[in-house]
Amino acid sequence: MLSHWILSLLIWVPIIGGLITLAVGMNDAHRTLIRWVALAFALITLFLCVPLYFEFDPNLYTMQLVEQHAWIPGLDIGYNLGVDGISVLFIMLNCFTTLIILLSAWSHTKEKAAQYMAIFLISAGLVNGAFATTDAILFYVFFESSLVPMFLGVGIWGGPRKVYASMKFFMMMFLGSIFMLLAFLYLHTKSGNFSIQDFQNVNLTAAEAGWIFMAFLATFAVKIPMWPVHTWLPDAHTEAPSGGSVILAALMLKLGAYGFVRFSLPIVPEVHQAFDWLLIGLSLIAIIYVGFACIMQTDMKRLIAYSSVSHMGLVTLGIFMVFRIVGETHGHNFAHDEDALIGLQGAIFQMVAHAFSAGAMFLGVGYMYDRYGSRLIKDYKGLAHAMPIFAAFYMLFAMANVGLPGTAGFVGEFMIVLAAFKANVWIAILAAFTLVLAPAYTLWMYKRVLFGEIKGRKFAEKNDLKANEILVFVLLAIPTIIFGLYPQWILHISHAASAHFLVHVMSRIPAGSY
């Protein structure tokens, strides 16, 4: 019974929760109540993931838990929901991350606390919607509207350059996404409806496919972001309040990669195959060039932001390599190419793992900023003396960011690099640079900030994490370690959908064009 509603509930419960939080927050006296209401809704949303998980059958690749209603009559636009093994992961991740953000904001006495909590709840619902929809226009609606909470979040609670950062963020995203809308409208003239499923089976001429590829690239490359359109990200991440940075890193960027997997690749695979040198090249530039850029950052948030770009480079590499891998091992049964699947699943795993490590690192900088009012590396030294518990946790997350075996960060990177060897040794070698660069920038930052002699009196006194902050870090540490030791769970859920994705993509490429 619940299975007919579960996706709608996952979208609307947090949104309505956000509105209720706003309503409660109309009266500033309700400070404590606001937090409890927001937390309650975040918990309910997370709790909804339990039936989602049990109703979902990971052995099927088809869309499940389907809901279909007419939405705009006469325009063929439906309120159609459904999830497969890839999107279900991100929905659960989103619900979890939202809870983390609300918990970590617990002890802050930010002004307009109700609005702060509300935008993250609303954003959670919208992002869930984007992952759960099977109608292209509905996807656009959720994709686009999720910009608004983030725009407000950066703009209201952001740092000194918040206006610049939020405007740049919004305008670049908006500019990118209109091309996707055009592509949808064009595909609609071909298929007669807006079902993503039908889009994937539309036959297009080479020219049409080329235009559609460019439209999707414009949208999703900005969202991920790929080099060279990543410039909004350091600004938005740096200026955003820590909750905003977490959502951006953990979910918003993933929407871009998800877009490639859901739309761009299955709809026009042949163009991706023809241009995979470009896409792989851009991914490698993101990994290496942005990795180097990371080392030179003086602002911790900016450093982690660039490291996100670099990590997303690995993700895109894992996704776009599939053609090359299949091409290299041509002669086997290419539709069930295990190596390509490893790369793709590695990319999906990396997306999930990156959410925990980058999210935790952003939150950590937020905790430091709340205490000492600076994000600059040079303002810190020997912080481990003042915040020993923090230092211990932060070491774990730094290691996850680096990709230390045993943490979640390792699995995805390893799978992608492993798959890259099948594509081309040079790609693999270049991609493996991340294994050198990530420790360099992460650990060097860690060393400069947390180790060393105590600098000034302000780091001499104990000023360690509060209970809610410890809880947040514990909650983030658990998946970081568990998925590092037992990645099978995530891989199992996404396996059927990923395998089907490969079969579909490869089946649309004419044989002999490898």
């Binding site: 009559p73 006469g74 325009l75 609005q115 686009e144 725009f151 918040k162 405007m167 305008m171 409208l185």
Partner: protein, 472 residues
């Protein structure tokens, strides 16, 4: 002529009677009791709406073919009442606060609405013209209502001269049409064979008609008057100027150009497309640099008009549906935008963007409503402005006008910037005063309903879409 002939015109007749009643009653009221005039005016609009609602679905041509009541007329009239009602509600305290003669104001509003209704229901050149003049003349007076304010008088003069010129052009066009076809009835003009032939006289008639309509819509390059008049008029009048005449002008466009000249689609298709492209471009670009919210809305209106023109230019009934939907949605949003200025203006005129600085800290509810309106105008989903843009762009893509569709979307990204600037000022900047902003109850209700309407119509677009889809 029997009594049944009057039924389709019942709303007009009722409003005319009420105008006389209100005018007479107002003579006997002193300033303290002028609230009665207000109430009676609102009641009139409600009753007229109910009558129109009851008549919906009827298709009748009466008064020797001069007057038509069809779905287009019904839908447009319905929104004319609704928007008139909302605007009066927003402006209830503004009018006395700004020392505008209250009785006369309401009578002029009703007269102008009546003109718009006649125009919307016109089925002949004569009725079109009568409606147009009846709508415009009270507006000229309303713009000049604050006699002591210099810029109001200037605006009124400008508006009057421009309006008169447009009317003159329209009459020119009518005379040519009559000369060619020998009739003033639109259905007969539509089928007159002479209009199928490409002659210079005919082109004169068509171009004059379109120019006059473009003047009324304030489409580029006939938009020069709009920003000055919008800025100069008291905002309650600007709100009227910017909304209800656009609905009427839409009817004029549909009935005269699309209906009357339907054989000359090849010509007006080009003209409307060019006007649309220019309007979208200049409207959006010039709006970027405005600091006065009324001027900003003037330019943003111009860009929205461009979308309506682009849709109408497509010449399919699906595109007309889209244009009607866009027009109605635009009017709902514009009423909200102007209404918001009315709500936060007390004794002064809060017309600059900076007057909204830190609104979130002073009255977070109003800020949220303004946020919804601005995002809707920018075309951000899931607000109704997005649905309207989607509808028009979809019509363009379905007709294979890909470049124009891309252009329209690109320009709406430009447009998003200036709407977001208003949001930025409200949410990101700290207020200069920490005093909570209080509003009148009416203003508060109107703003809330309007803002939430934009959201709810966006999430549940079916009703309004279906209403518009039945029209053409």
């Amino acid at each position: 002529m029997n009594l049944h002939e009057f039924i389709p015109a019942l709303p007009e007749i009722f409003i005319l009677i009420m105008i006389c009643v209100i005018m007479m009653l107002d003579l006997f009221l002193d300033d303290e009791h002028r609230g009665f005039t207000y109430a009676l005016t609102q009641l009139t609009l409600i009753v007229a709406a109910v009558i129109t609602w009851r008549l919906y679905g009827m298709h009748a041509i009466v008064f020797s073919g001069q007057f038509v009541f069809d779905k287009l007329a019904a839908v447009l009239k319905f929104f004319i009442y609704l928007m008139g009602f909302a605007l009066l509600m927003y402006g209830r305290t503004y009018v006395p606060d700004h020392k505008m003669p209250r009785g006369e104001f309401h009578v002029l509003v009703l007269l102008s609405l009546l003109g718009a209704m006649v125009l919307v229901s016109a089925n002949s050149l004569l009725t079109l013209y009568i409606g147009l003049e009846l709508m415009s003349l009270p507006l000229y007076a309303m713009v000049a209502m604050q006699r002591h304010v210099k810029r109001s008088s200037e605006a009124a003069m400008k508006y009057f001269v421009m309006g008169a010129m447009a009317s003159g052009l329209l009459l020119f066009s009518f005379s040519f049409i009559y000369g060619l076809s020998g009739t003033i009835l639109l259905p007969q003009i539509m089928t007159a064979h002479i209009l199928g032939a490409h002659t210079y006289i005919l082109m004169f008639a068509l171009v004059f008609a379109i120019v006059a309509i473009a003047f009324k819509f304030a489409a580029v390059p006939f938009h020069m008057w709009a920003p000055d008049v919008y800025e100069g008029a008291p905002v309650v009048v600007t709100a009227f100027l910017g909304t209800i005449p656009k609905l009427a002008a839409f009817a004029l466009l549909m009935r005269l150009v699309v209906g009357g000249f339907h054989l000359r689609f090849a010509e007006w298709h080009v003209v409307l497309t060019v006007l649309g492209i220019l309007s979208i471009f200049f409207g959006n670009i010039l709006a970027l640099v405005q600091t006065n919210l009324k001027r900003l809305f003037a330019y943003s209106t111009i860009s929205h008009i461009g979308f309506i023109f682009l849709a109408v230019a497509l010449g399919t009934s699906a595109a007309y549906d889209a244009a009607l939907y866009y027009a109605v949605v635009y009017v709902i949003m514009a009423v909200g935008g102007f209404g918001m200025i009315l709500v936060i203006s007390h004794k002064t005129e809060a017309e600059n963007i900076s007057d909204f600085t830190g609104l979130n800290f002073r009255n977070s509810w109003l800020a949220a409503m303004m946020l919804l309106l601005m995002l809707s105008m920018a075309g951000i989903p899931p607000l109704v402005g997005f649905d309207a843009k989607l509808y028009v762009i979809m019509a363009l893509v379905n007709q294979h006008h890909y470049i124009i569709a891309t252009y329209g979307l690109l320009m709406s990204v430009v447009g998003a910037y200036y709407y977001l600037r208003v949001v930025k000022v409200m949410y990101f900047d700290k207020p200069t005063t920490n005093k909570t902003l209080t509003t009148t109850v009416d203003g508060f209700i109107a703003a809330s309903v309007n803002g939430l309407l934009v959201l709810l119509l966006g999430i549940f677009p079916a009703m309004l879409v279906v209403l518009c889809q039945g029209v053409f």
